[in-house]
């Protein structure tokens, strides 16, 4: 098969033709004018945002928008800012037990039953919940990473949060160093937190009688923690991370709105007392995470074990699997989480009247009980990089179902038979996300 003109000339002419093609002025200069100040700002920063909606069956619901912005400096430094808003409303359990008789409670701001502007009654058999719970929160955080050498960096960060009844500030520092061609990273961090608790209706005196409305002033708590972690690249497809951490909080650790049902000898409700928790809590945890991935699939498996000085021991296992479409245009990511915790030493669903004088710490808050919880979720992500001409740009939506099942192993007094004392929790969570 002959190619005209002459074989040897073909390549020369092809080179000439290519040069002619490539020497036409780049179209870019006409089609991509200077982006301007806003354009350049958008190019320099990466944004992530999410709108989450949380709804507990018959209890509280929350809407939470979050926005974060991050900027990389040329030398490996980085600054990132985030804003979170939280709006909660609905019914929140007040810690008392269901009863065969109706129960009446006041709003937290009341000074006595007589003068209370708002009173709520729980029907027989129902879990006592305050139906007018509402809370708003605004939080802001910033982190700044400074490279120290080619292989190590220092991070300084802080956050502040404001709610109607709670103010918090946190400061954190961290140091990380890479070894082995950046295959191993060792990091060490510490944080300190200071909170002011300013409950609606003032702080109830712990263990005082609910009907006495005894109050005291604002409270505070402080905490400090340290974390040590190692991240290791195992193979081209596998990364592992192990963190060990400890923290300790001291001060007012009670939930100011939670009460405990006091039961008389036969099991009838004799009244309520405000809860009381120890004024210090030390927690230790170990966390192991493995990420494995291939061209179109990746999985994240994590395990956490935690113990604390209140007697709570918990185990958490979570697995997430991301499955990309062949074109990597979108993905789905199912996830499952299993959680189990054992109760705090002072957890008790009720207080026997006979023990009232000698009990120093008690709380019926189900979050301190023995329970297991399961989460099932599915996330869908759509890559917008192609459309928006930005890498790491995507739209996501995820839906999760969370269910807590309490395991309280206490003989039920006669007067409380036939009641669903520990209903647990069922919640649905939906989140939309957009990153640019």
């Amino acid at each position: 098969m002959q190619l005209k003109p002459g074989a040897a000339q073909l390549r020369r002419r092809l080179i000439a033709a290519s040069c002619a093609l490539l020497s036409t002025p780049p179209a870019r200069s006409q089609e991509n004018p200077d982006p301007g100040l806003v354009g350049r700002f958008l190019q320099a920063w990466q944004f992530e945002s999410a709108l989450a909606y949380y709804h507990e069956d018959g209890r509280i619901q929350a809407v939470e928008p979050v926005v974060s912005a991050s900027h990389d400096y040329g030398d490996g430094g980085n600054v990132s800012l985030n804003f979170t808003f939280d709006a909660l409303s609905g019914s929140s359990p007040n810690g008392a037990l269901p009863s065969h008789a109706p129960q009446t409670f006041t709003a937290a701001s009341a000074k006595s039953f007589a003068s209370a502007r708002r009173v709520y009654t729980t029907a027989p058999g129902n879990l006592p919940v305050d139906p007018n719970f509402s809370d708003g929160r605004a939080a802001f955080g910033a982190d700044w990473t400074l490279p120290l050498t080619r292989l190590s960096r220092f991070t300084l960060g802080g956050k502040a949060s404001i709610e109607d009844d709670f103010y918090s500030t946190t400061v954190n520092i961290a140091f990380a160093h890479d070894f082995n061609n950046k295959n191993t990273t060792v990091s060490f961090g510490a944080d300190a937190e200071g909170d002011i608790i300013h409950p609606v209706g003032k702080t109830p005196v712990p263990l005082s009688d609910y009907a006495a409305f005894s109050r005291e002033g604002d409270k505070s708590k402080t905490g400090a923690g340290a974390l040590f972690g190692v991240t290791q690249v195992m193979t081209r497809n596998w990364l592992t991370q192990l963190n060990v951490s400890v923290d300790r909080f001291t001060g007012y650790l009670n939930d100011p709105y939670k009460i405990v049902t006091v039961l008389a000898a036969g099991g009838d409700t004799a009244g309520y007392e405000y809860e009381n928790r120890p004024d210090s809590r030390t927690r230790k945890s170990a966390y192991l995470e493995n990420r494995v991935g291939g061209a179109h699939v990746s999985a994240d498996l994590s395990l956490r074990y935690m113990t604390d000085s209140w007697g709570i021991r918990s185990q958490t296992a979570q697995i997430r699997m991301r499955l990309w479409s062949p074109s990597r245009q979108h993905y789905i990511e199912p996830t499952t989480r299993w959680y189990h915790q054992s109760a705090a030493d002072f957890f008790n669903p009720w207080l026997a009247a006979a023990d009232a004088g000698s009990t120093r710490y008690i709380s019926s808050d189900p979050r301190l009980a023995t329970f297991h919880a399961l989460t099932y979720g599915l996330k869908y992500g759509y890559d917008l990089g192609d459309r928006l001409h930005r890498s790491n740009s995507e739209f996501t939506v995820r839906v999760e179902y969370y269910r807590q099942t309490l395991e309280v192993d206490k003989p039920v007094p006669v007067a409380l038979q036939g009641l669903d004392l520990y209903p647990g929790l069922k919640a649905v969570f939906v989140q939309f996300g957009f990153s640019y």
Binding site: L3, S18, L22, T24
Partner: protein, 275 residues
Amino acid sequence: MACPCEVLVYGDDRAQALSLGTMAAQEAWRVEHKYSRYRDDSVVAWIHGHRGLKCALDVETASLIDFAHRCFELSDGLFDITSGILRRVWKFDGSDRVPEADAVAALLPSIGFDKLQWEPPLLLLPAGMELDFGGIGKEYAVDRAYELLAAQCNVPFLLNFGGDLRTNRPPPQGPWRIGIERPDAEMTAAMLLDLERGALATSGDSRRFLLKASVRYSHILDPRTGWPVVDAPRSVTVAGSSCTEAGLLATLAMLQGAGARAFLEEQGARHWILQ
């Protein structure tokens, strides 16, 4: 581009590497969006929407048509950007569904660059015909992105858009090491080449082919007959000063079928062929 694209930059400045990568990515997207036959906002879609009418092409598109014209002449009709309509009957999905001879023959009257009316900058695409820049689009994108990066910096970099590469200079410790995939086993390089500067383009049938009665039909179709080239090598890699040039030579070599090696030797181009 329908393939993974990467930019390798040698250096210490992460912000510069990110900025070069972004620049290359945006140029790749620009070229792809402008010449994609899948998008309804591309120049190709606009030309297809004006069949039978004279379209005034912009400078870039006009020069691409000029280039395609020259290649059509130099290759005696083997390289033809109007041959895209053959994909209506040829679906290279690894099955044995080879089209009927009549179906292929029916498309031939609508193929042929010489049937276009090209008087720069005016192009008239007759009814029933289609333009497809798939044969040169990727290599052109590499060259365009290369030029933008080369004008911007002096650090060694390598562009790799799905096997079409170009680099400006080697890193200090030696040439870039390029692995050419063995056609049957993904991700295990069959050959390692050293690239110091210039471009490499690979043409191959490892993923798109039909297999019927032990005859392997490569996805490289001869526009003059409408049928695949017989006995084409599994993979041809050619080095050139630009990716467009290397890509054209690789495609033309595949179109020679069994004569690929002889063709490339005649051209004096550095080449590597895997059977």
